[in-house]
């Protein structure tokens, strides 16, 4: 009896499969391909599903997949979004988190080693590049690429990851803090050179805001985000950043002779001069840094749009006027580094090709598809997770002012998309060097030679 029920179920399933294939266009071609591909575990199986409206309950209902989230601040929202996805598609999606202080790469590699790899992982671009060819599913033929072609990361000419979110960095300003202190209108576009930045800092100091810039001491902030400008602004493209890093590696370029480094340090010196945490620069506390900005004790915070949750927690509302000025470098007002801000995809979503079943992979692709195309997916990305989507077909307006500013700047062409990919210990080693500089333990030449030494070691 039991056997016959099983057989019946199998028959029905097959019938359902076949009919769904027939239902979508071009089925004669995909049908054989799908069966063959499904066995091999490639992407073809999912393609046929893509044509189906993504909000419909699919045949993949009942599949259960996992996603490793390395972006701690969206954990709860992502869980909610996963629940919505499950509701709409019937695919179970479990969100795994990376603990505080846990390195995502370590987490994902240990999961691979133990044979419990997540179906999808949200990782930094560097990690995706390291893992892609071995564990990533080739996504080059996915439908959504048309919406975000300029934002994808290619490894050996293939796309292995979905650009999950765009993030940008510069110097965050609080319009209210500046205008309250100065008693006049503030135009962020007027800050387009180091001199103009210095001038407004001086003006603010004279108006009673003793130290208007908050500088965070975290090594990832100082090493990857601040010092990272010297690579990103080489010519504003990732390829340009690669070029300068290669030159530093082979020694054909010395850090101390590199224009962008010297410009960067000039800006850093101004920031340190007006640093709110001047008294004990390495005693800065990230959460309090946000409070100083929100409370109007300071006006500027070199950081990125990921700082919004902290700013909001510190008491700001989404109607407050926060935005970005460029991390100014030098005094050339026509320099792209001074007229635009950095914005690029930072987190990538990679689908596992090794340890998941073809059905799970298909379900994962369906999830990406759902994020890109469905209304709840698009809204969820922007409004729940509060990230800036990389796909141009998503026109939901971001809720927070920092993201709104980036979207506006992207639309106006006031962004550059370089996103340097350094060796994985760059942020920690160079972050420590920058901390020394910030604490006054080393000077510019000392920092330069240490950074040089770091790059030489990579050769």
């Amino acid at each position: 009896m039991k056997k016959s029920i099983n057989r019946l179920a199998a028959l029905l399933m097959t019938a359902a499969c076949v009919s769904s294939l027939v239902a979508c266009g071009g089925s004669t071609k995909t049908e054989t391909a799908t069966t063959a591909a499904a066995a091999e575990g490639t992407t073809a199986a999912a393609e046929s599903k893509e044509a189906v409206a993504p909000t419909e309950k699919s045949d993949l209902a009942g599949q259960s997949i996992t996603i490793l989230n390395s972006k701690g601040e969206i954990q709860t929202a992502l869980e909610e979004l996963a629940a919505t996805f499950t509701e709409e598609t019937g695919i179970e999606l479990e969100v795994l988190s990376c603990g505080t202080g846990e390195v995502p790469y370590t987490k994902v590699t240990s999961m691979y080693s133990s044979g419990t790899a997540p179906t999808m992982s949200i990782l930094d671009t560097t990690d995706v590049i390291a893992l892609a060819t071995e564990y990533g599913l080739d996504l080059s033929d996915q439908d959504w690429i048309q919406y975000c072609d300029s934002m994808t990361t290619k490894v050996d000419g293939k796309v292995y990851s979905f650009p999950f979110c765009v993030e940008g960095r510069g110097i965050i300003y609080s319009k209210k803090a500046i205008e309250d202190a100065l008693g006049k209108e503030f135009d962020p576009a007027s800050i387009n050179s180091l001199d103009s930045f210095k001038a407004i800092c001086e003006e603010l100091r004279a108006a009673g805001m003793e130290n208007p810039v908050v500088l965070s001491k975290e090594d990832w902030s100082l090493g990857a985000h601040q010092l990272g400008y010297i690579y990103d602004t080489n010519d504003g493209t990732t390829a340009g950043a690669d070029k300068i890093m290669a030159a530093l590696k082979d020694g054909s370029q010395k850090v101390e002779d590199y224009d962008r480094f010297n410009q960067f340090m000039d800006t850093m010196d101004v920031i340190l001069e007006y640093n709110y945490n001047k008294e004990d620069p390495l005693g800065a506390i990230y959460d309090e840094d946000a409070m100083h900005l929100v409370d109007g004790d300071a006006a500027f915070w070199p950081n990125g749009n990921w700082a919004w949750p902290n700013i909001e927690t510190a008491g700001a509302t989404t109607d407050d006027e926060f935005g970005f000025i460029s991390f100014v470098l030098g005094n050339d007002t026509a320099d792209f580094a001074n007229t635009s801000m950095q914005a690029s995809p930072t987190k990538q979503l990679m689908v596992d090709a090794k340890q998941s079943t073809p059905e799970q992979q298909a379900a994962a692709l369906e999830f990406i598809n759902w994020l890109v195309n469905s209304e709840s997916g698009q809204k969820g990305l922007v409004e729940k997770l509060q990230i800036i989507p990389a796909c141009s077909n998503n026109t939901v307006a971001p809720l927070d002012p920092l993201s709104r500013d980036i979207v506006a700047k992207m639309a106006d062409g006031h962004t550059y998309s370089s996103s340097f990919v350094a060796p994985s210990d760059h942020w920690s080693v160079v972050g420590a060097i920058m901390q020394k500089y910030v604490a006054g333990e080393t000077d510019r030449a000392g920092a330069a030679s240490e950074i040089d030494a770091y790059w030489q070691k990579q050769a």
Binding site: Y105, S113, E134, S424, A439
Partner: protein, 296 residues
């Protein structure tokens, strides 16, 4: 003596029954990973790649040239010496006073000193991070105490001492417990005889109590040695190796080498080296300590 079986067959049977499960688990989770880890030190594995190439002793050569490793090894030795001394000194003193000298609230004090040991290292690190970088700074600023008006964690020397202080705070209660057990085990007869013979105060402590307490010292020093060498959790959450990598103890360095810098082979070689250092030092300590033991 042969209560478990008279014939070889019986012996094997009782071994299988009683020791096999334990041995099996031990081999699986300790011996095999250890040997495998040892094998990894001869490869250029990056922690995730499917192919591992044998590279001979390259990783050990890299270890010898890794300046940061030796720096953190030096710092760790300093940390170990200080924490072993202080933890045991405090543990012994607490035990001495709480095993008869102070009667009132004896159990309350014992529980109080032991509690820190029940809090996990990670949580403990975060709590003390708050204390050192915020609480003390607020106090220091409002009371005008220069020592506390800046975060201890932003200065390399003070951050190091912060690590030692938190370790002492955490471990001395645990050691106190072992010393209390030692004190309780001291024979009243011997102590009374010593008093009758005229030994009092320091001379009684020096010639009677301390020699009889040697077994407790051996255990406590062994425990503190190995824990101090391998410390990672407090290091991670209290200072995170900061400021500028100056408080990175050796376990953290090994971790960063293997996982952040993705040089798994070198990291593993450093871990193996660390293992031998700890094994030799604690082995010596136990050997020498055992020789000092006396029978009452």
């Amino acid at each position: 003596m042969n209560s478990l079986g008279r014939t070889t067959g019986d012996k094997i049977k009782s071994f299988l029954m009683f020791a096999l499960p334990g041995t099996f688990v031990f081999v699986c989770v300790v011996i095999i990973p250890f040997l495998y880890g040892f094998y990894l030190t001869f490869t250029d594995w990056n922690g995730v790649a499917a192919v591992k190439n044998l590279v001979g002793f390259d990783n050990y050569r890299a270890l010898a040239q890794d300046k940061e490793f030796w720096k953190s090894m030096g710092l760790t030795l300093k940390y170990v010496v200080l924490s072993v001394l202080l933890v045991n000194a405090f543990g012994f003193l607490f035990a001495y006073f709480l095993s008869g000298r102070i009667k009132k609230g004896q159990n309350l004090f014992r529980a109080g000193f032991f509690t820190p040991n029940l809090i996990g290292g990670v949580v403990l690190g975060f709590i003390w991070q708050f204390v050192f970088s915020q609480l003390l700074v607020k106090f220091g600023k409002s009371l005008g105490i220069a020592l506390f008006s800046k975060s201890w964690l932003s200065d390399p020397t003070k951050a190091f001492w912060a690590l030692v202080i938190v370790t002492v705070w955490q471990l001395s209660g645990y050691m106190m417990l072992i010393y209390i057990a030692g004190f309780t085990g001291l024979s009243e007869d011997v102590l009374e005889a010593a008093s009758i013979d005229g030994a009092h105060g320091w001379s009684k402590m020096r010639h009677i109590v301390l020699p009889l307490m040697v077994p407790s010292f051996v255990i406590c020093i062994f425990l503190t040695l190995s824990r101090a060498f391998m410390v990672y959790d407090i290091n991670l959450t209290l200072t995170g190796g900061e400021p500028y990598g100056s408080t990175r103890l050796v376990a953290m360095h090994v971790y960063e080498k293997a996982f952040t810098a993705r040089q798994y082979g070198i990291g593993q070689a450093e871990a193996v080296f660390l293992f031998f250092v700890v094994a030799v030092i604690s082995g010596l300590q136990v050997y020498i300590g055992k020789k000092q033991e006396v029978e009452a």
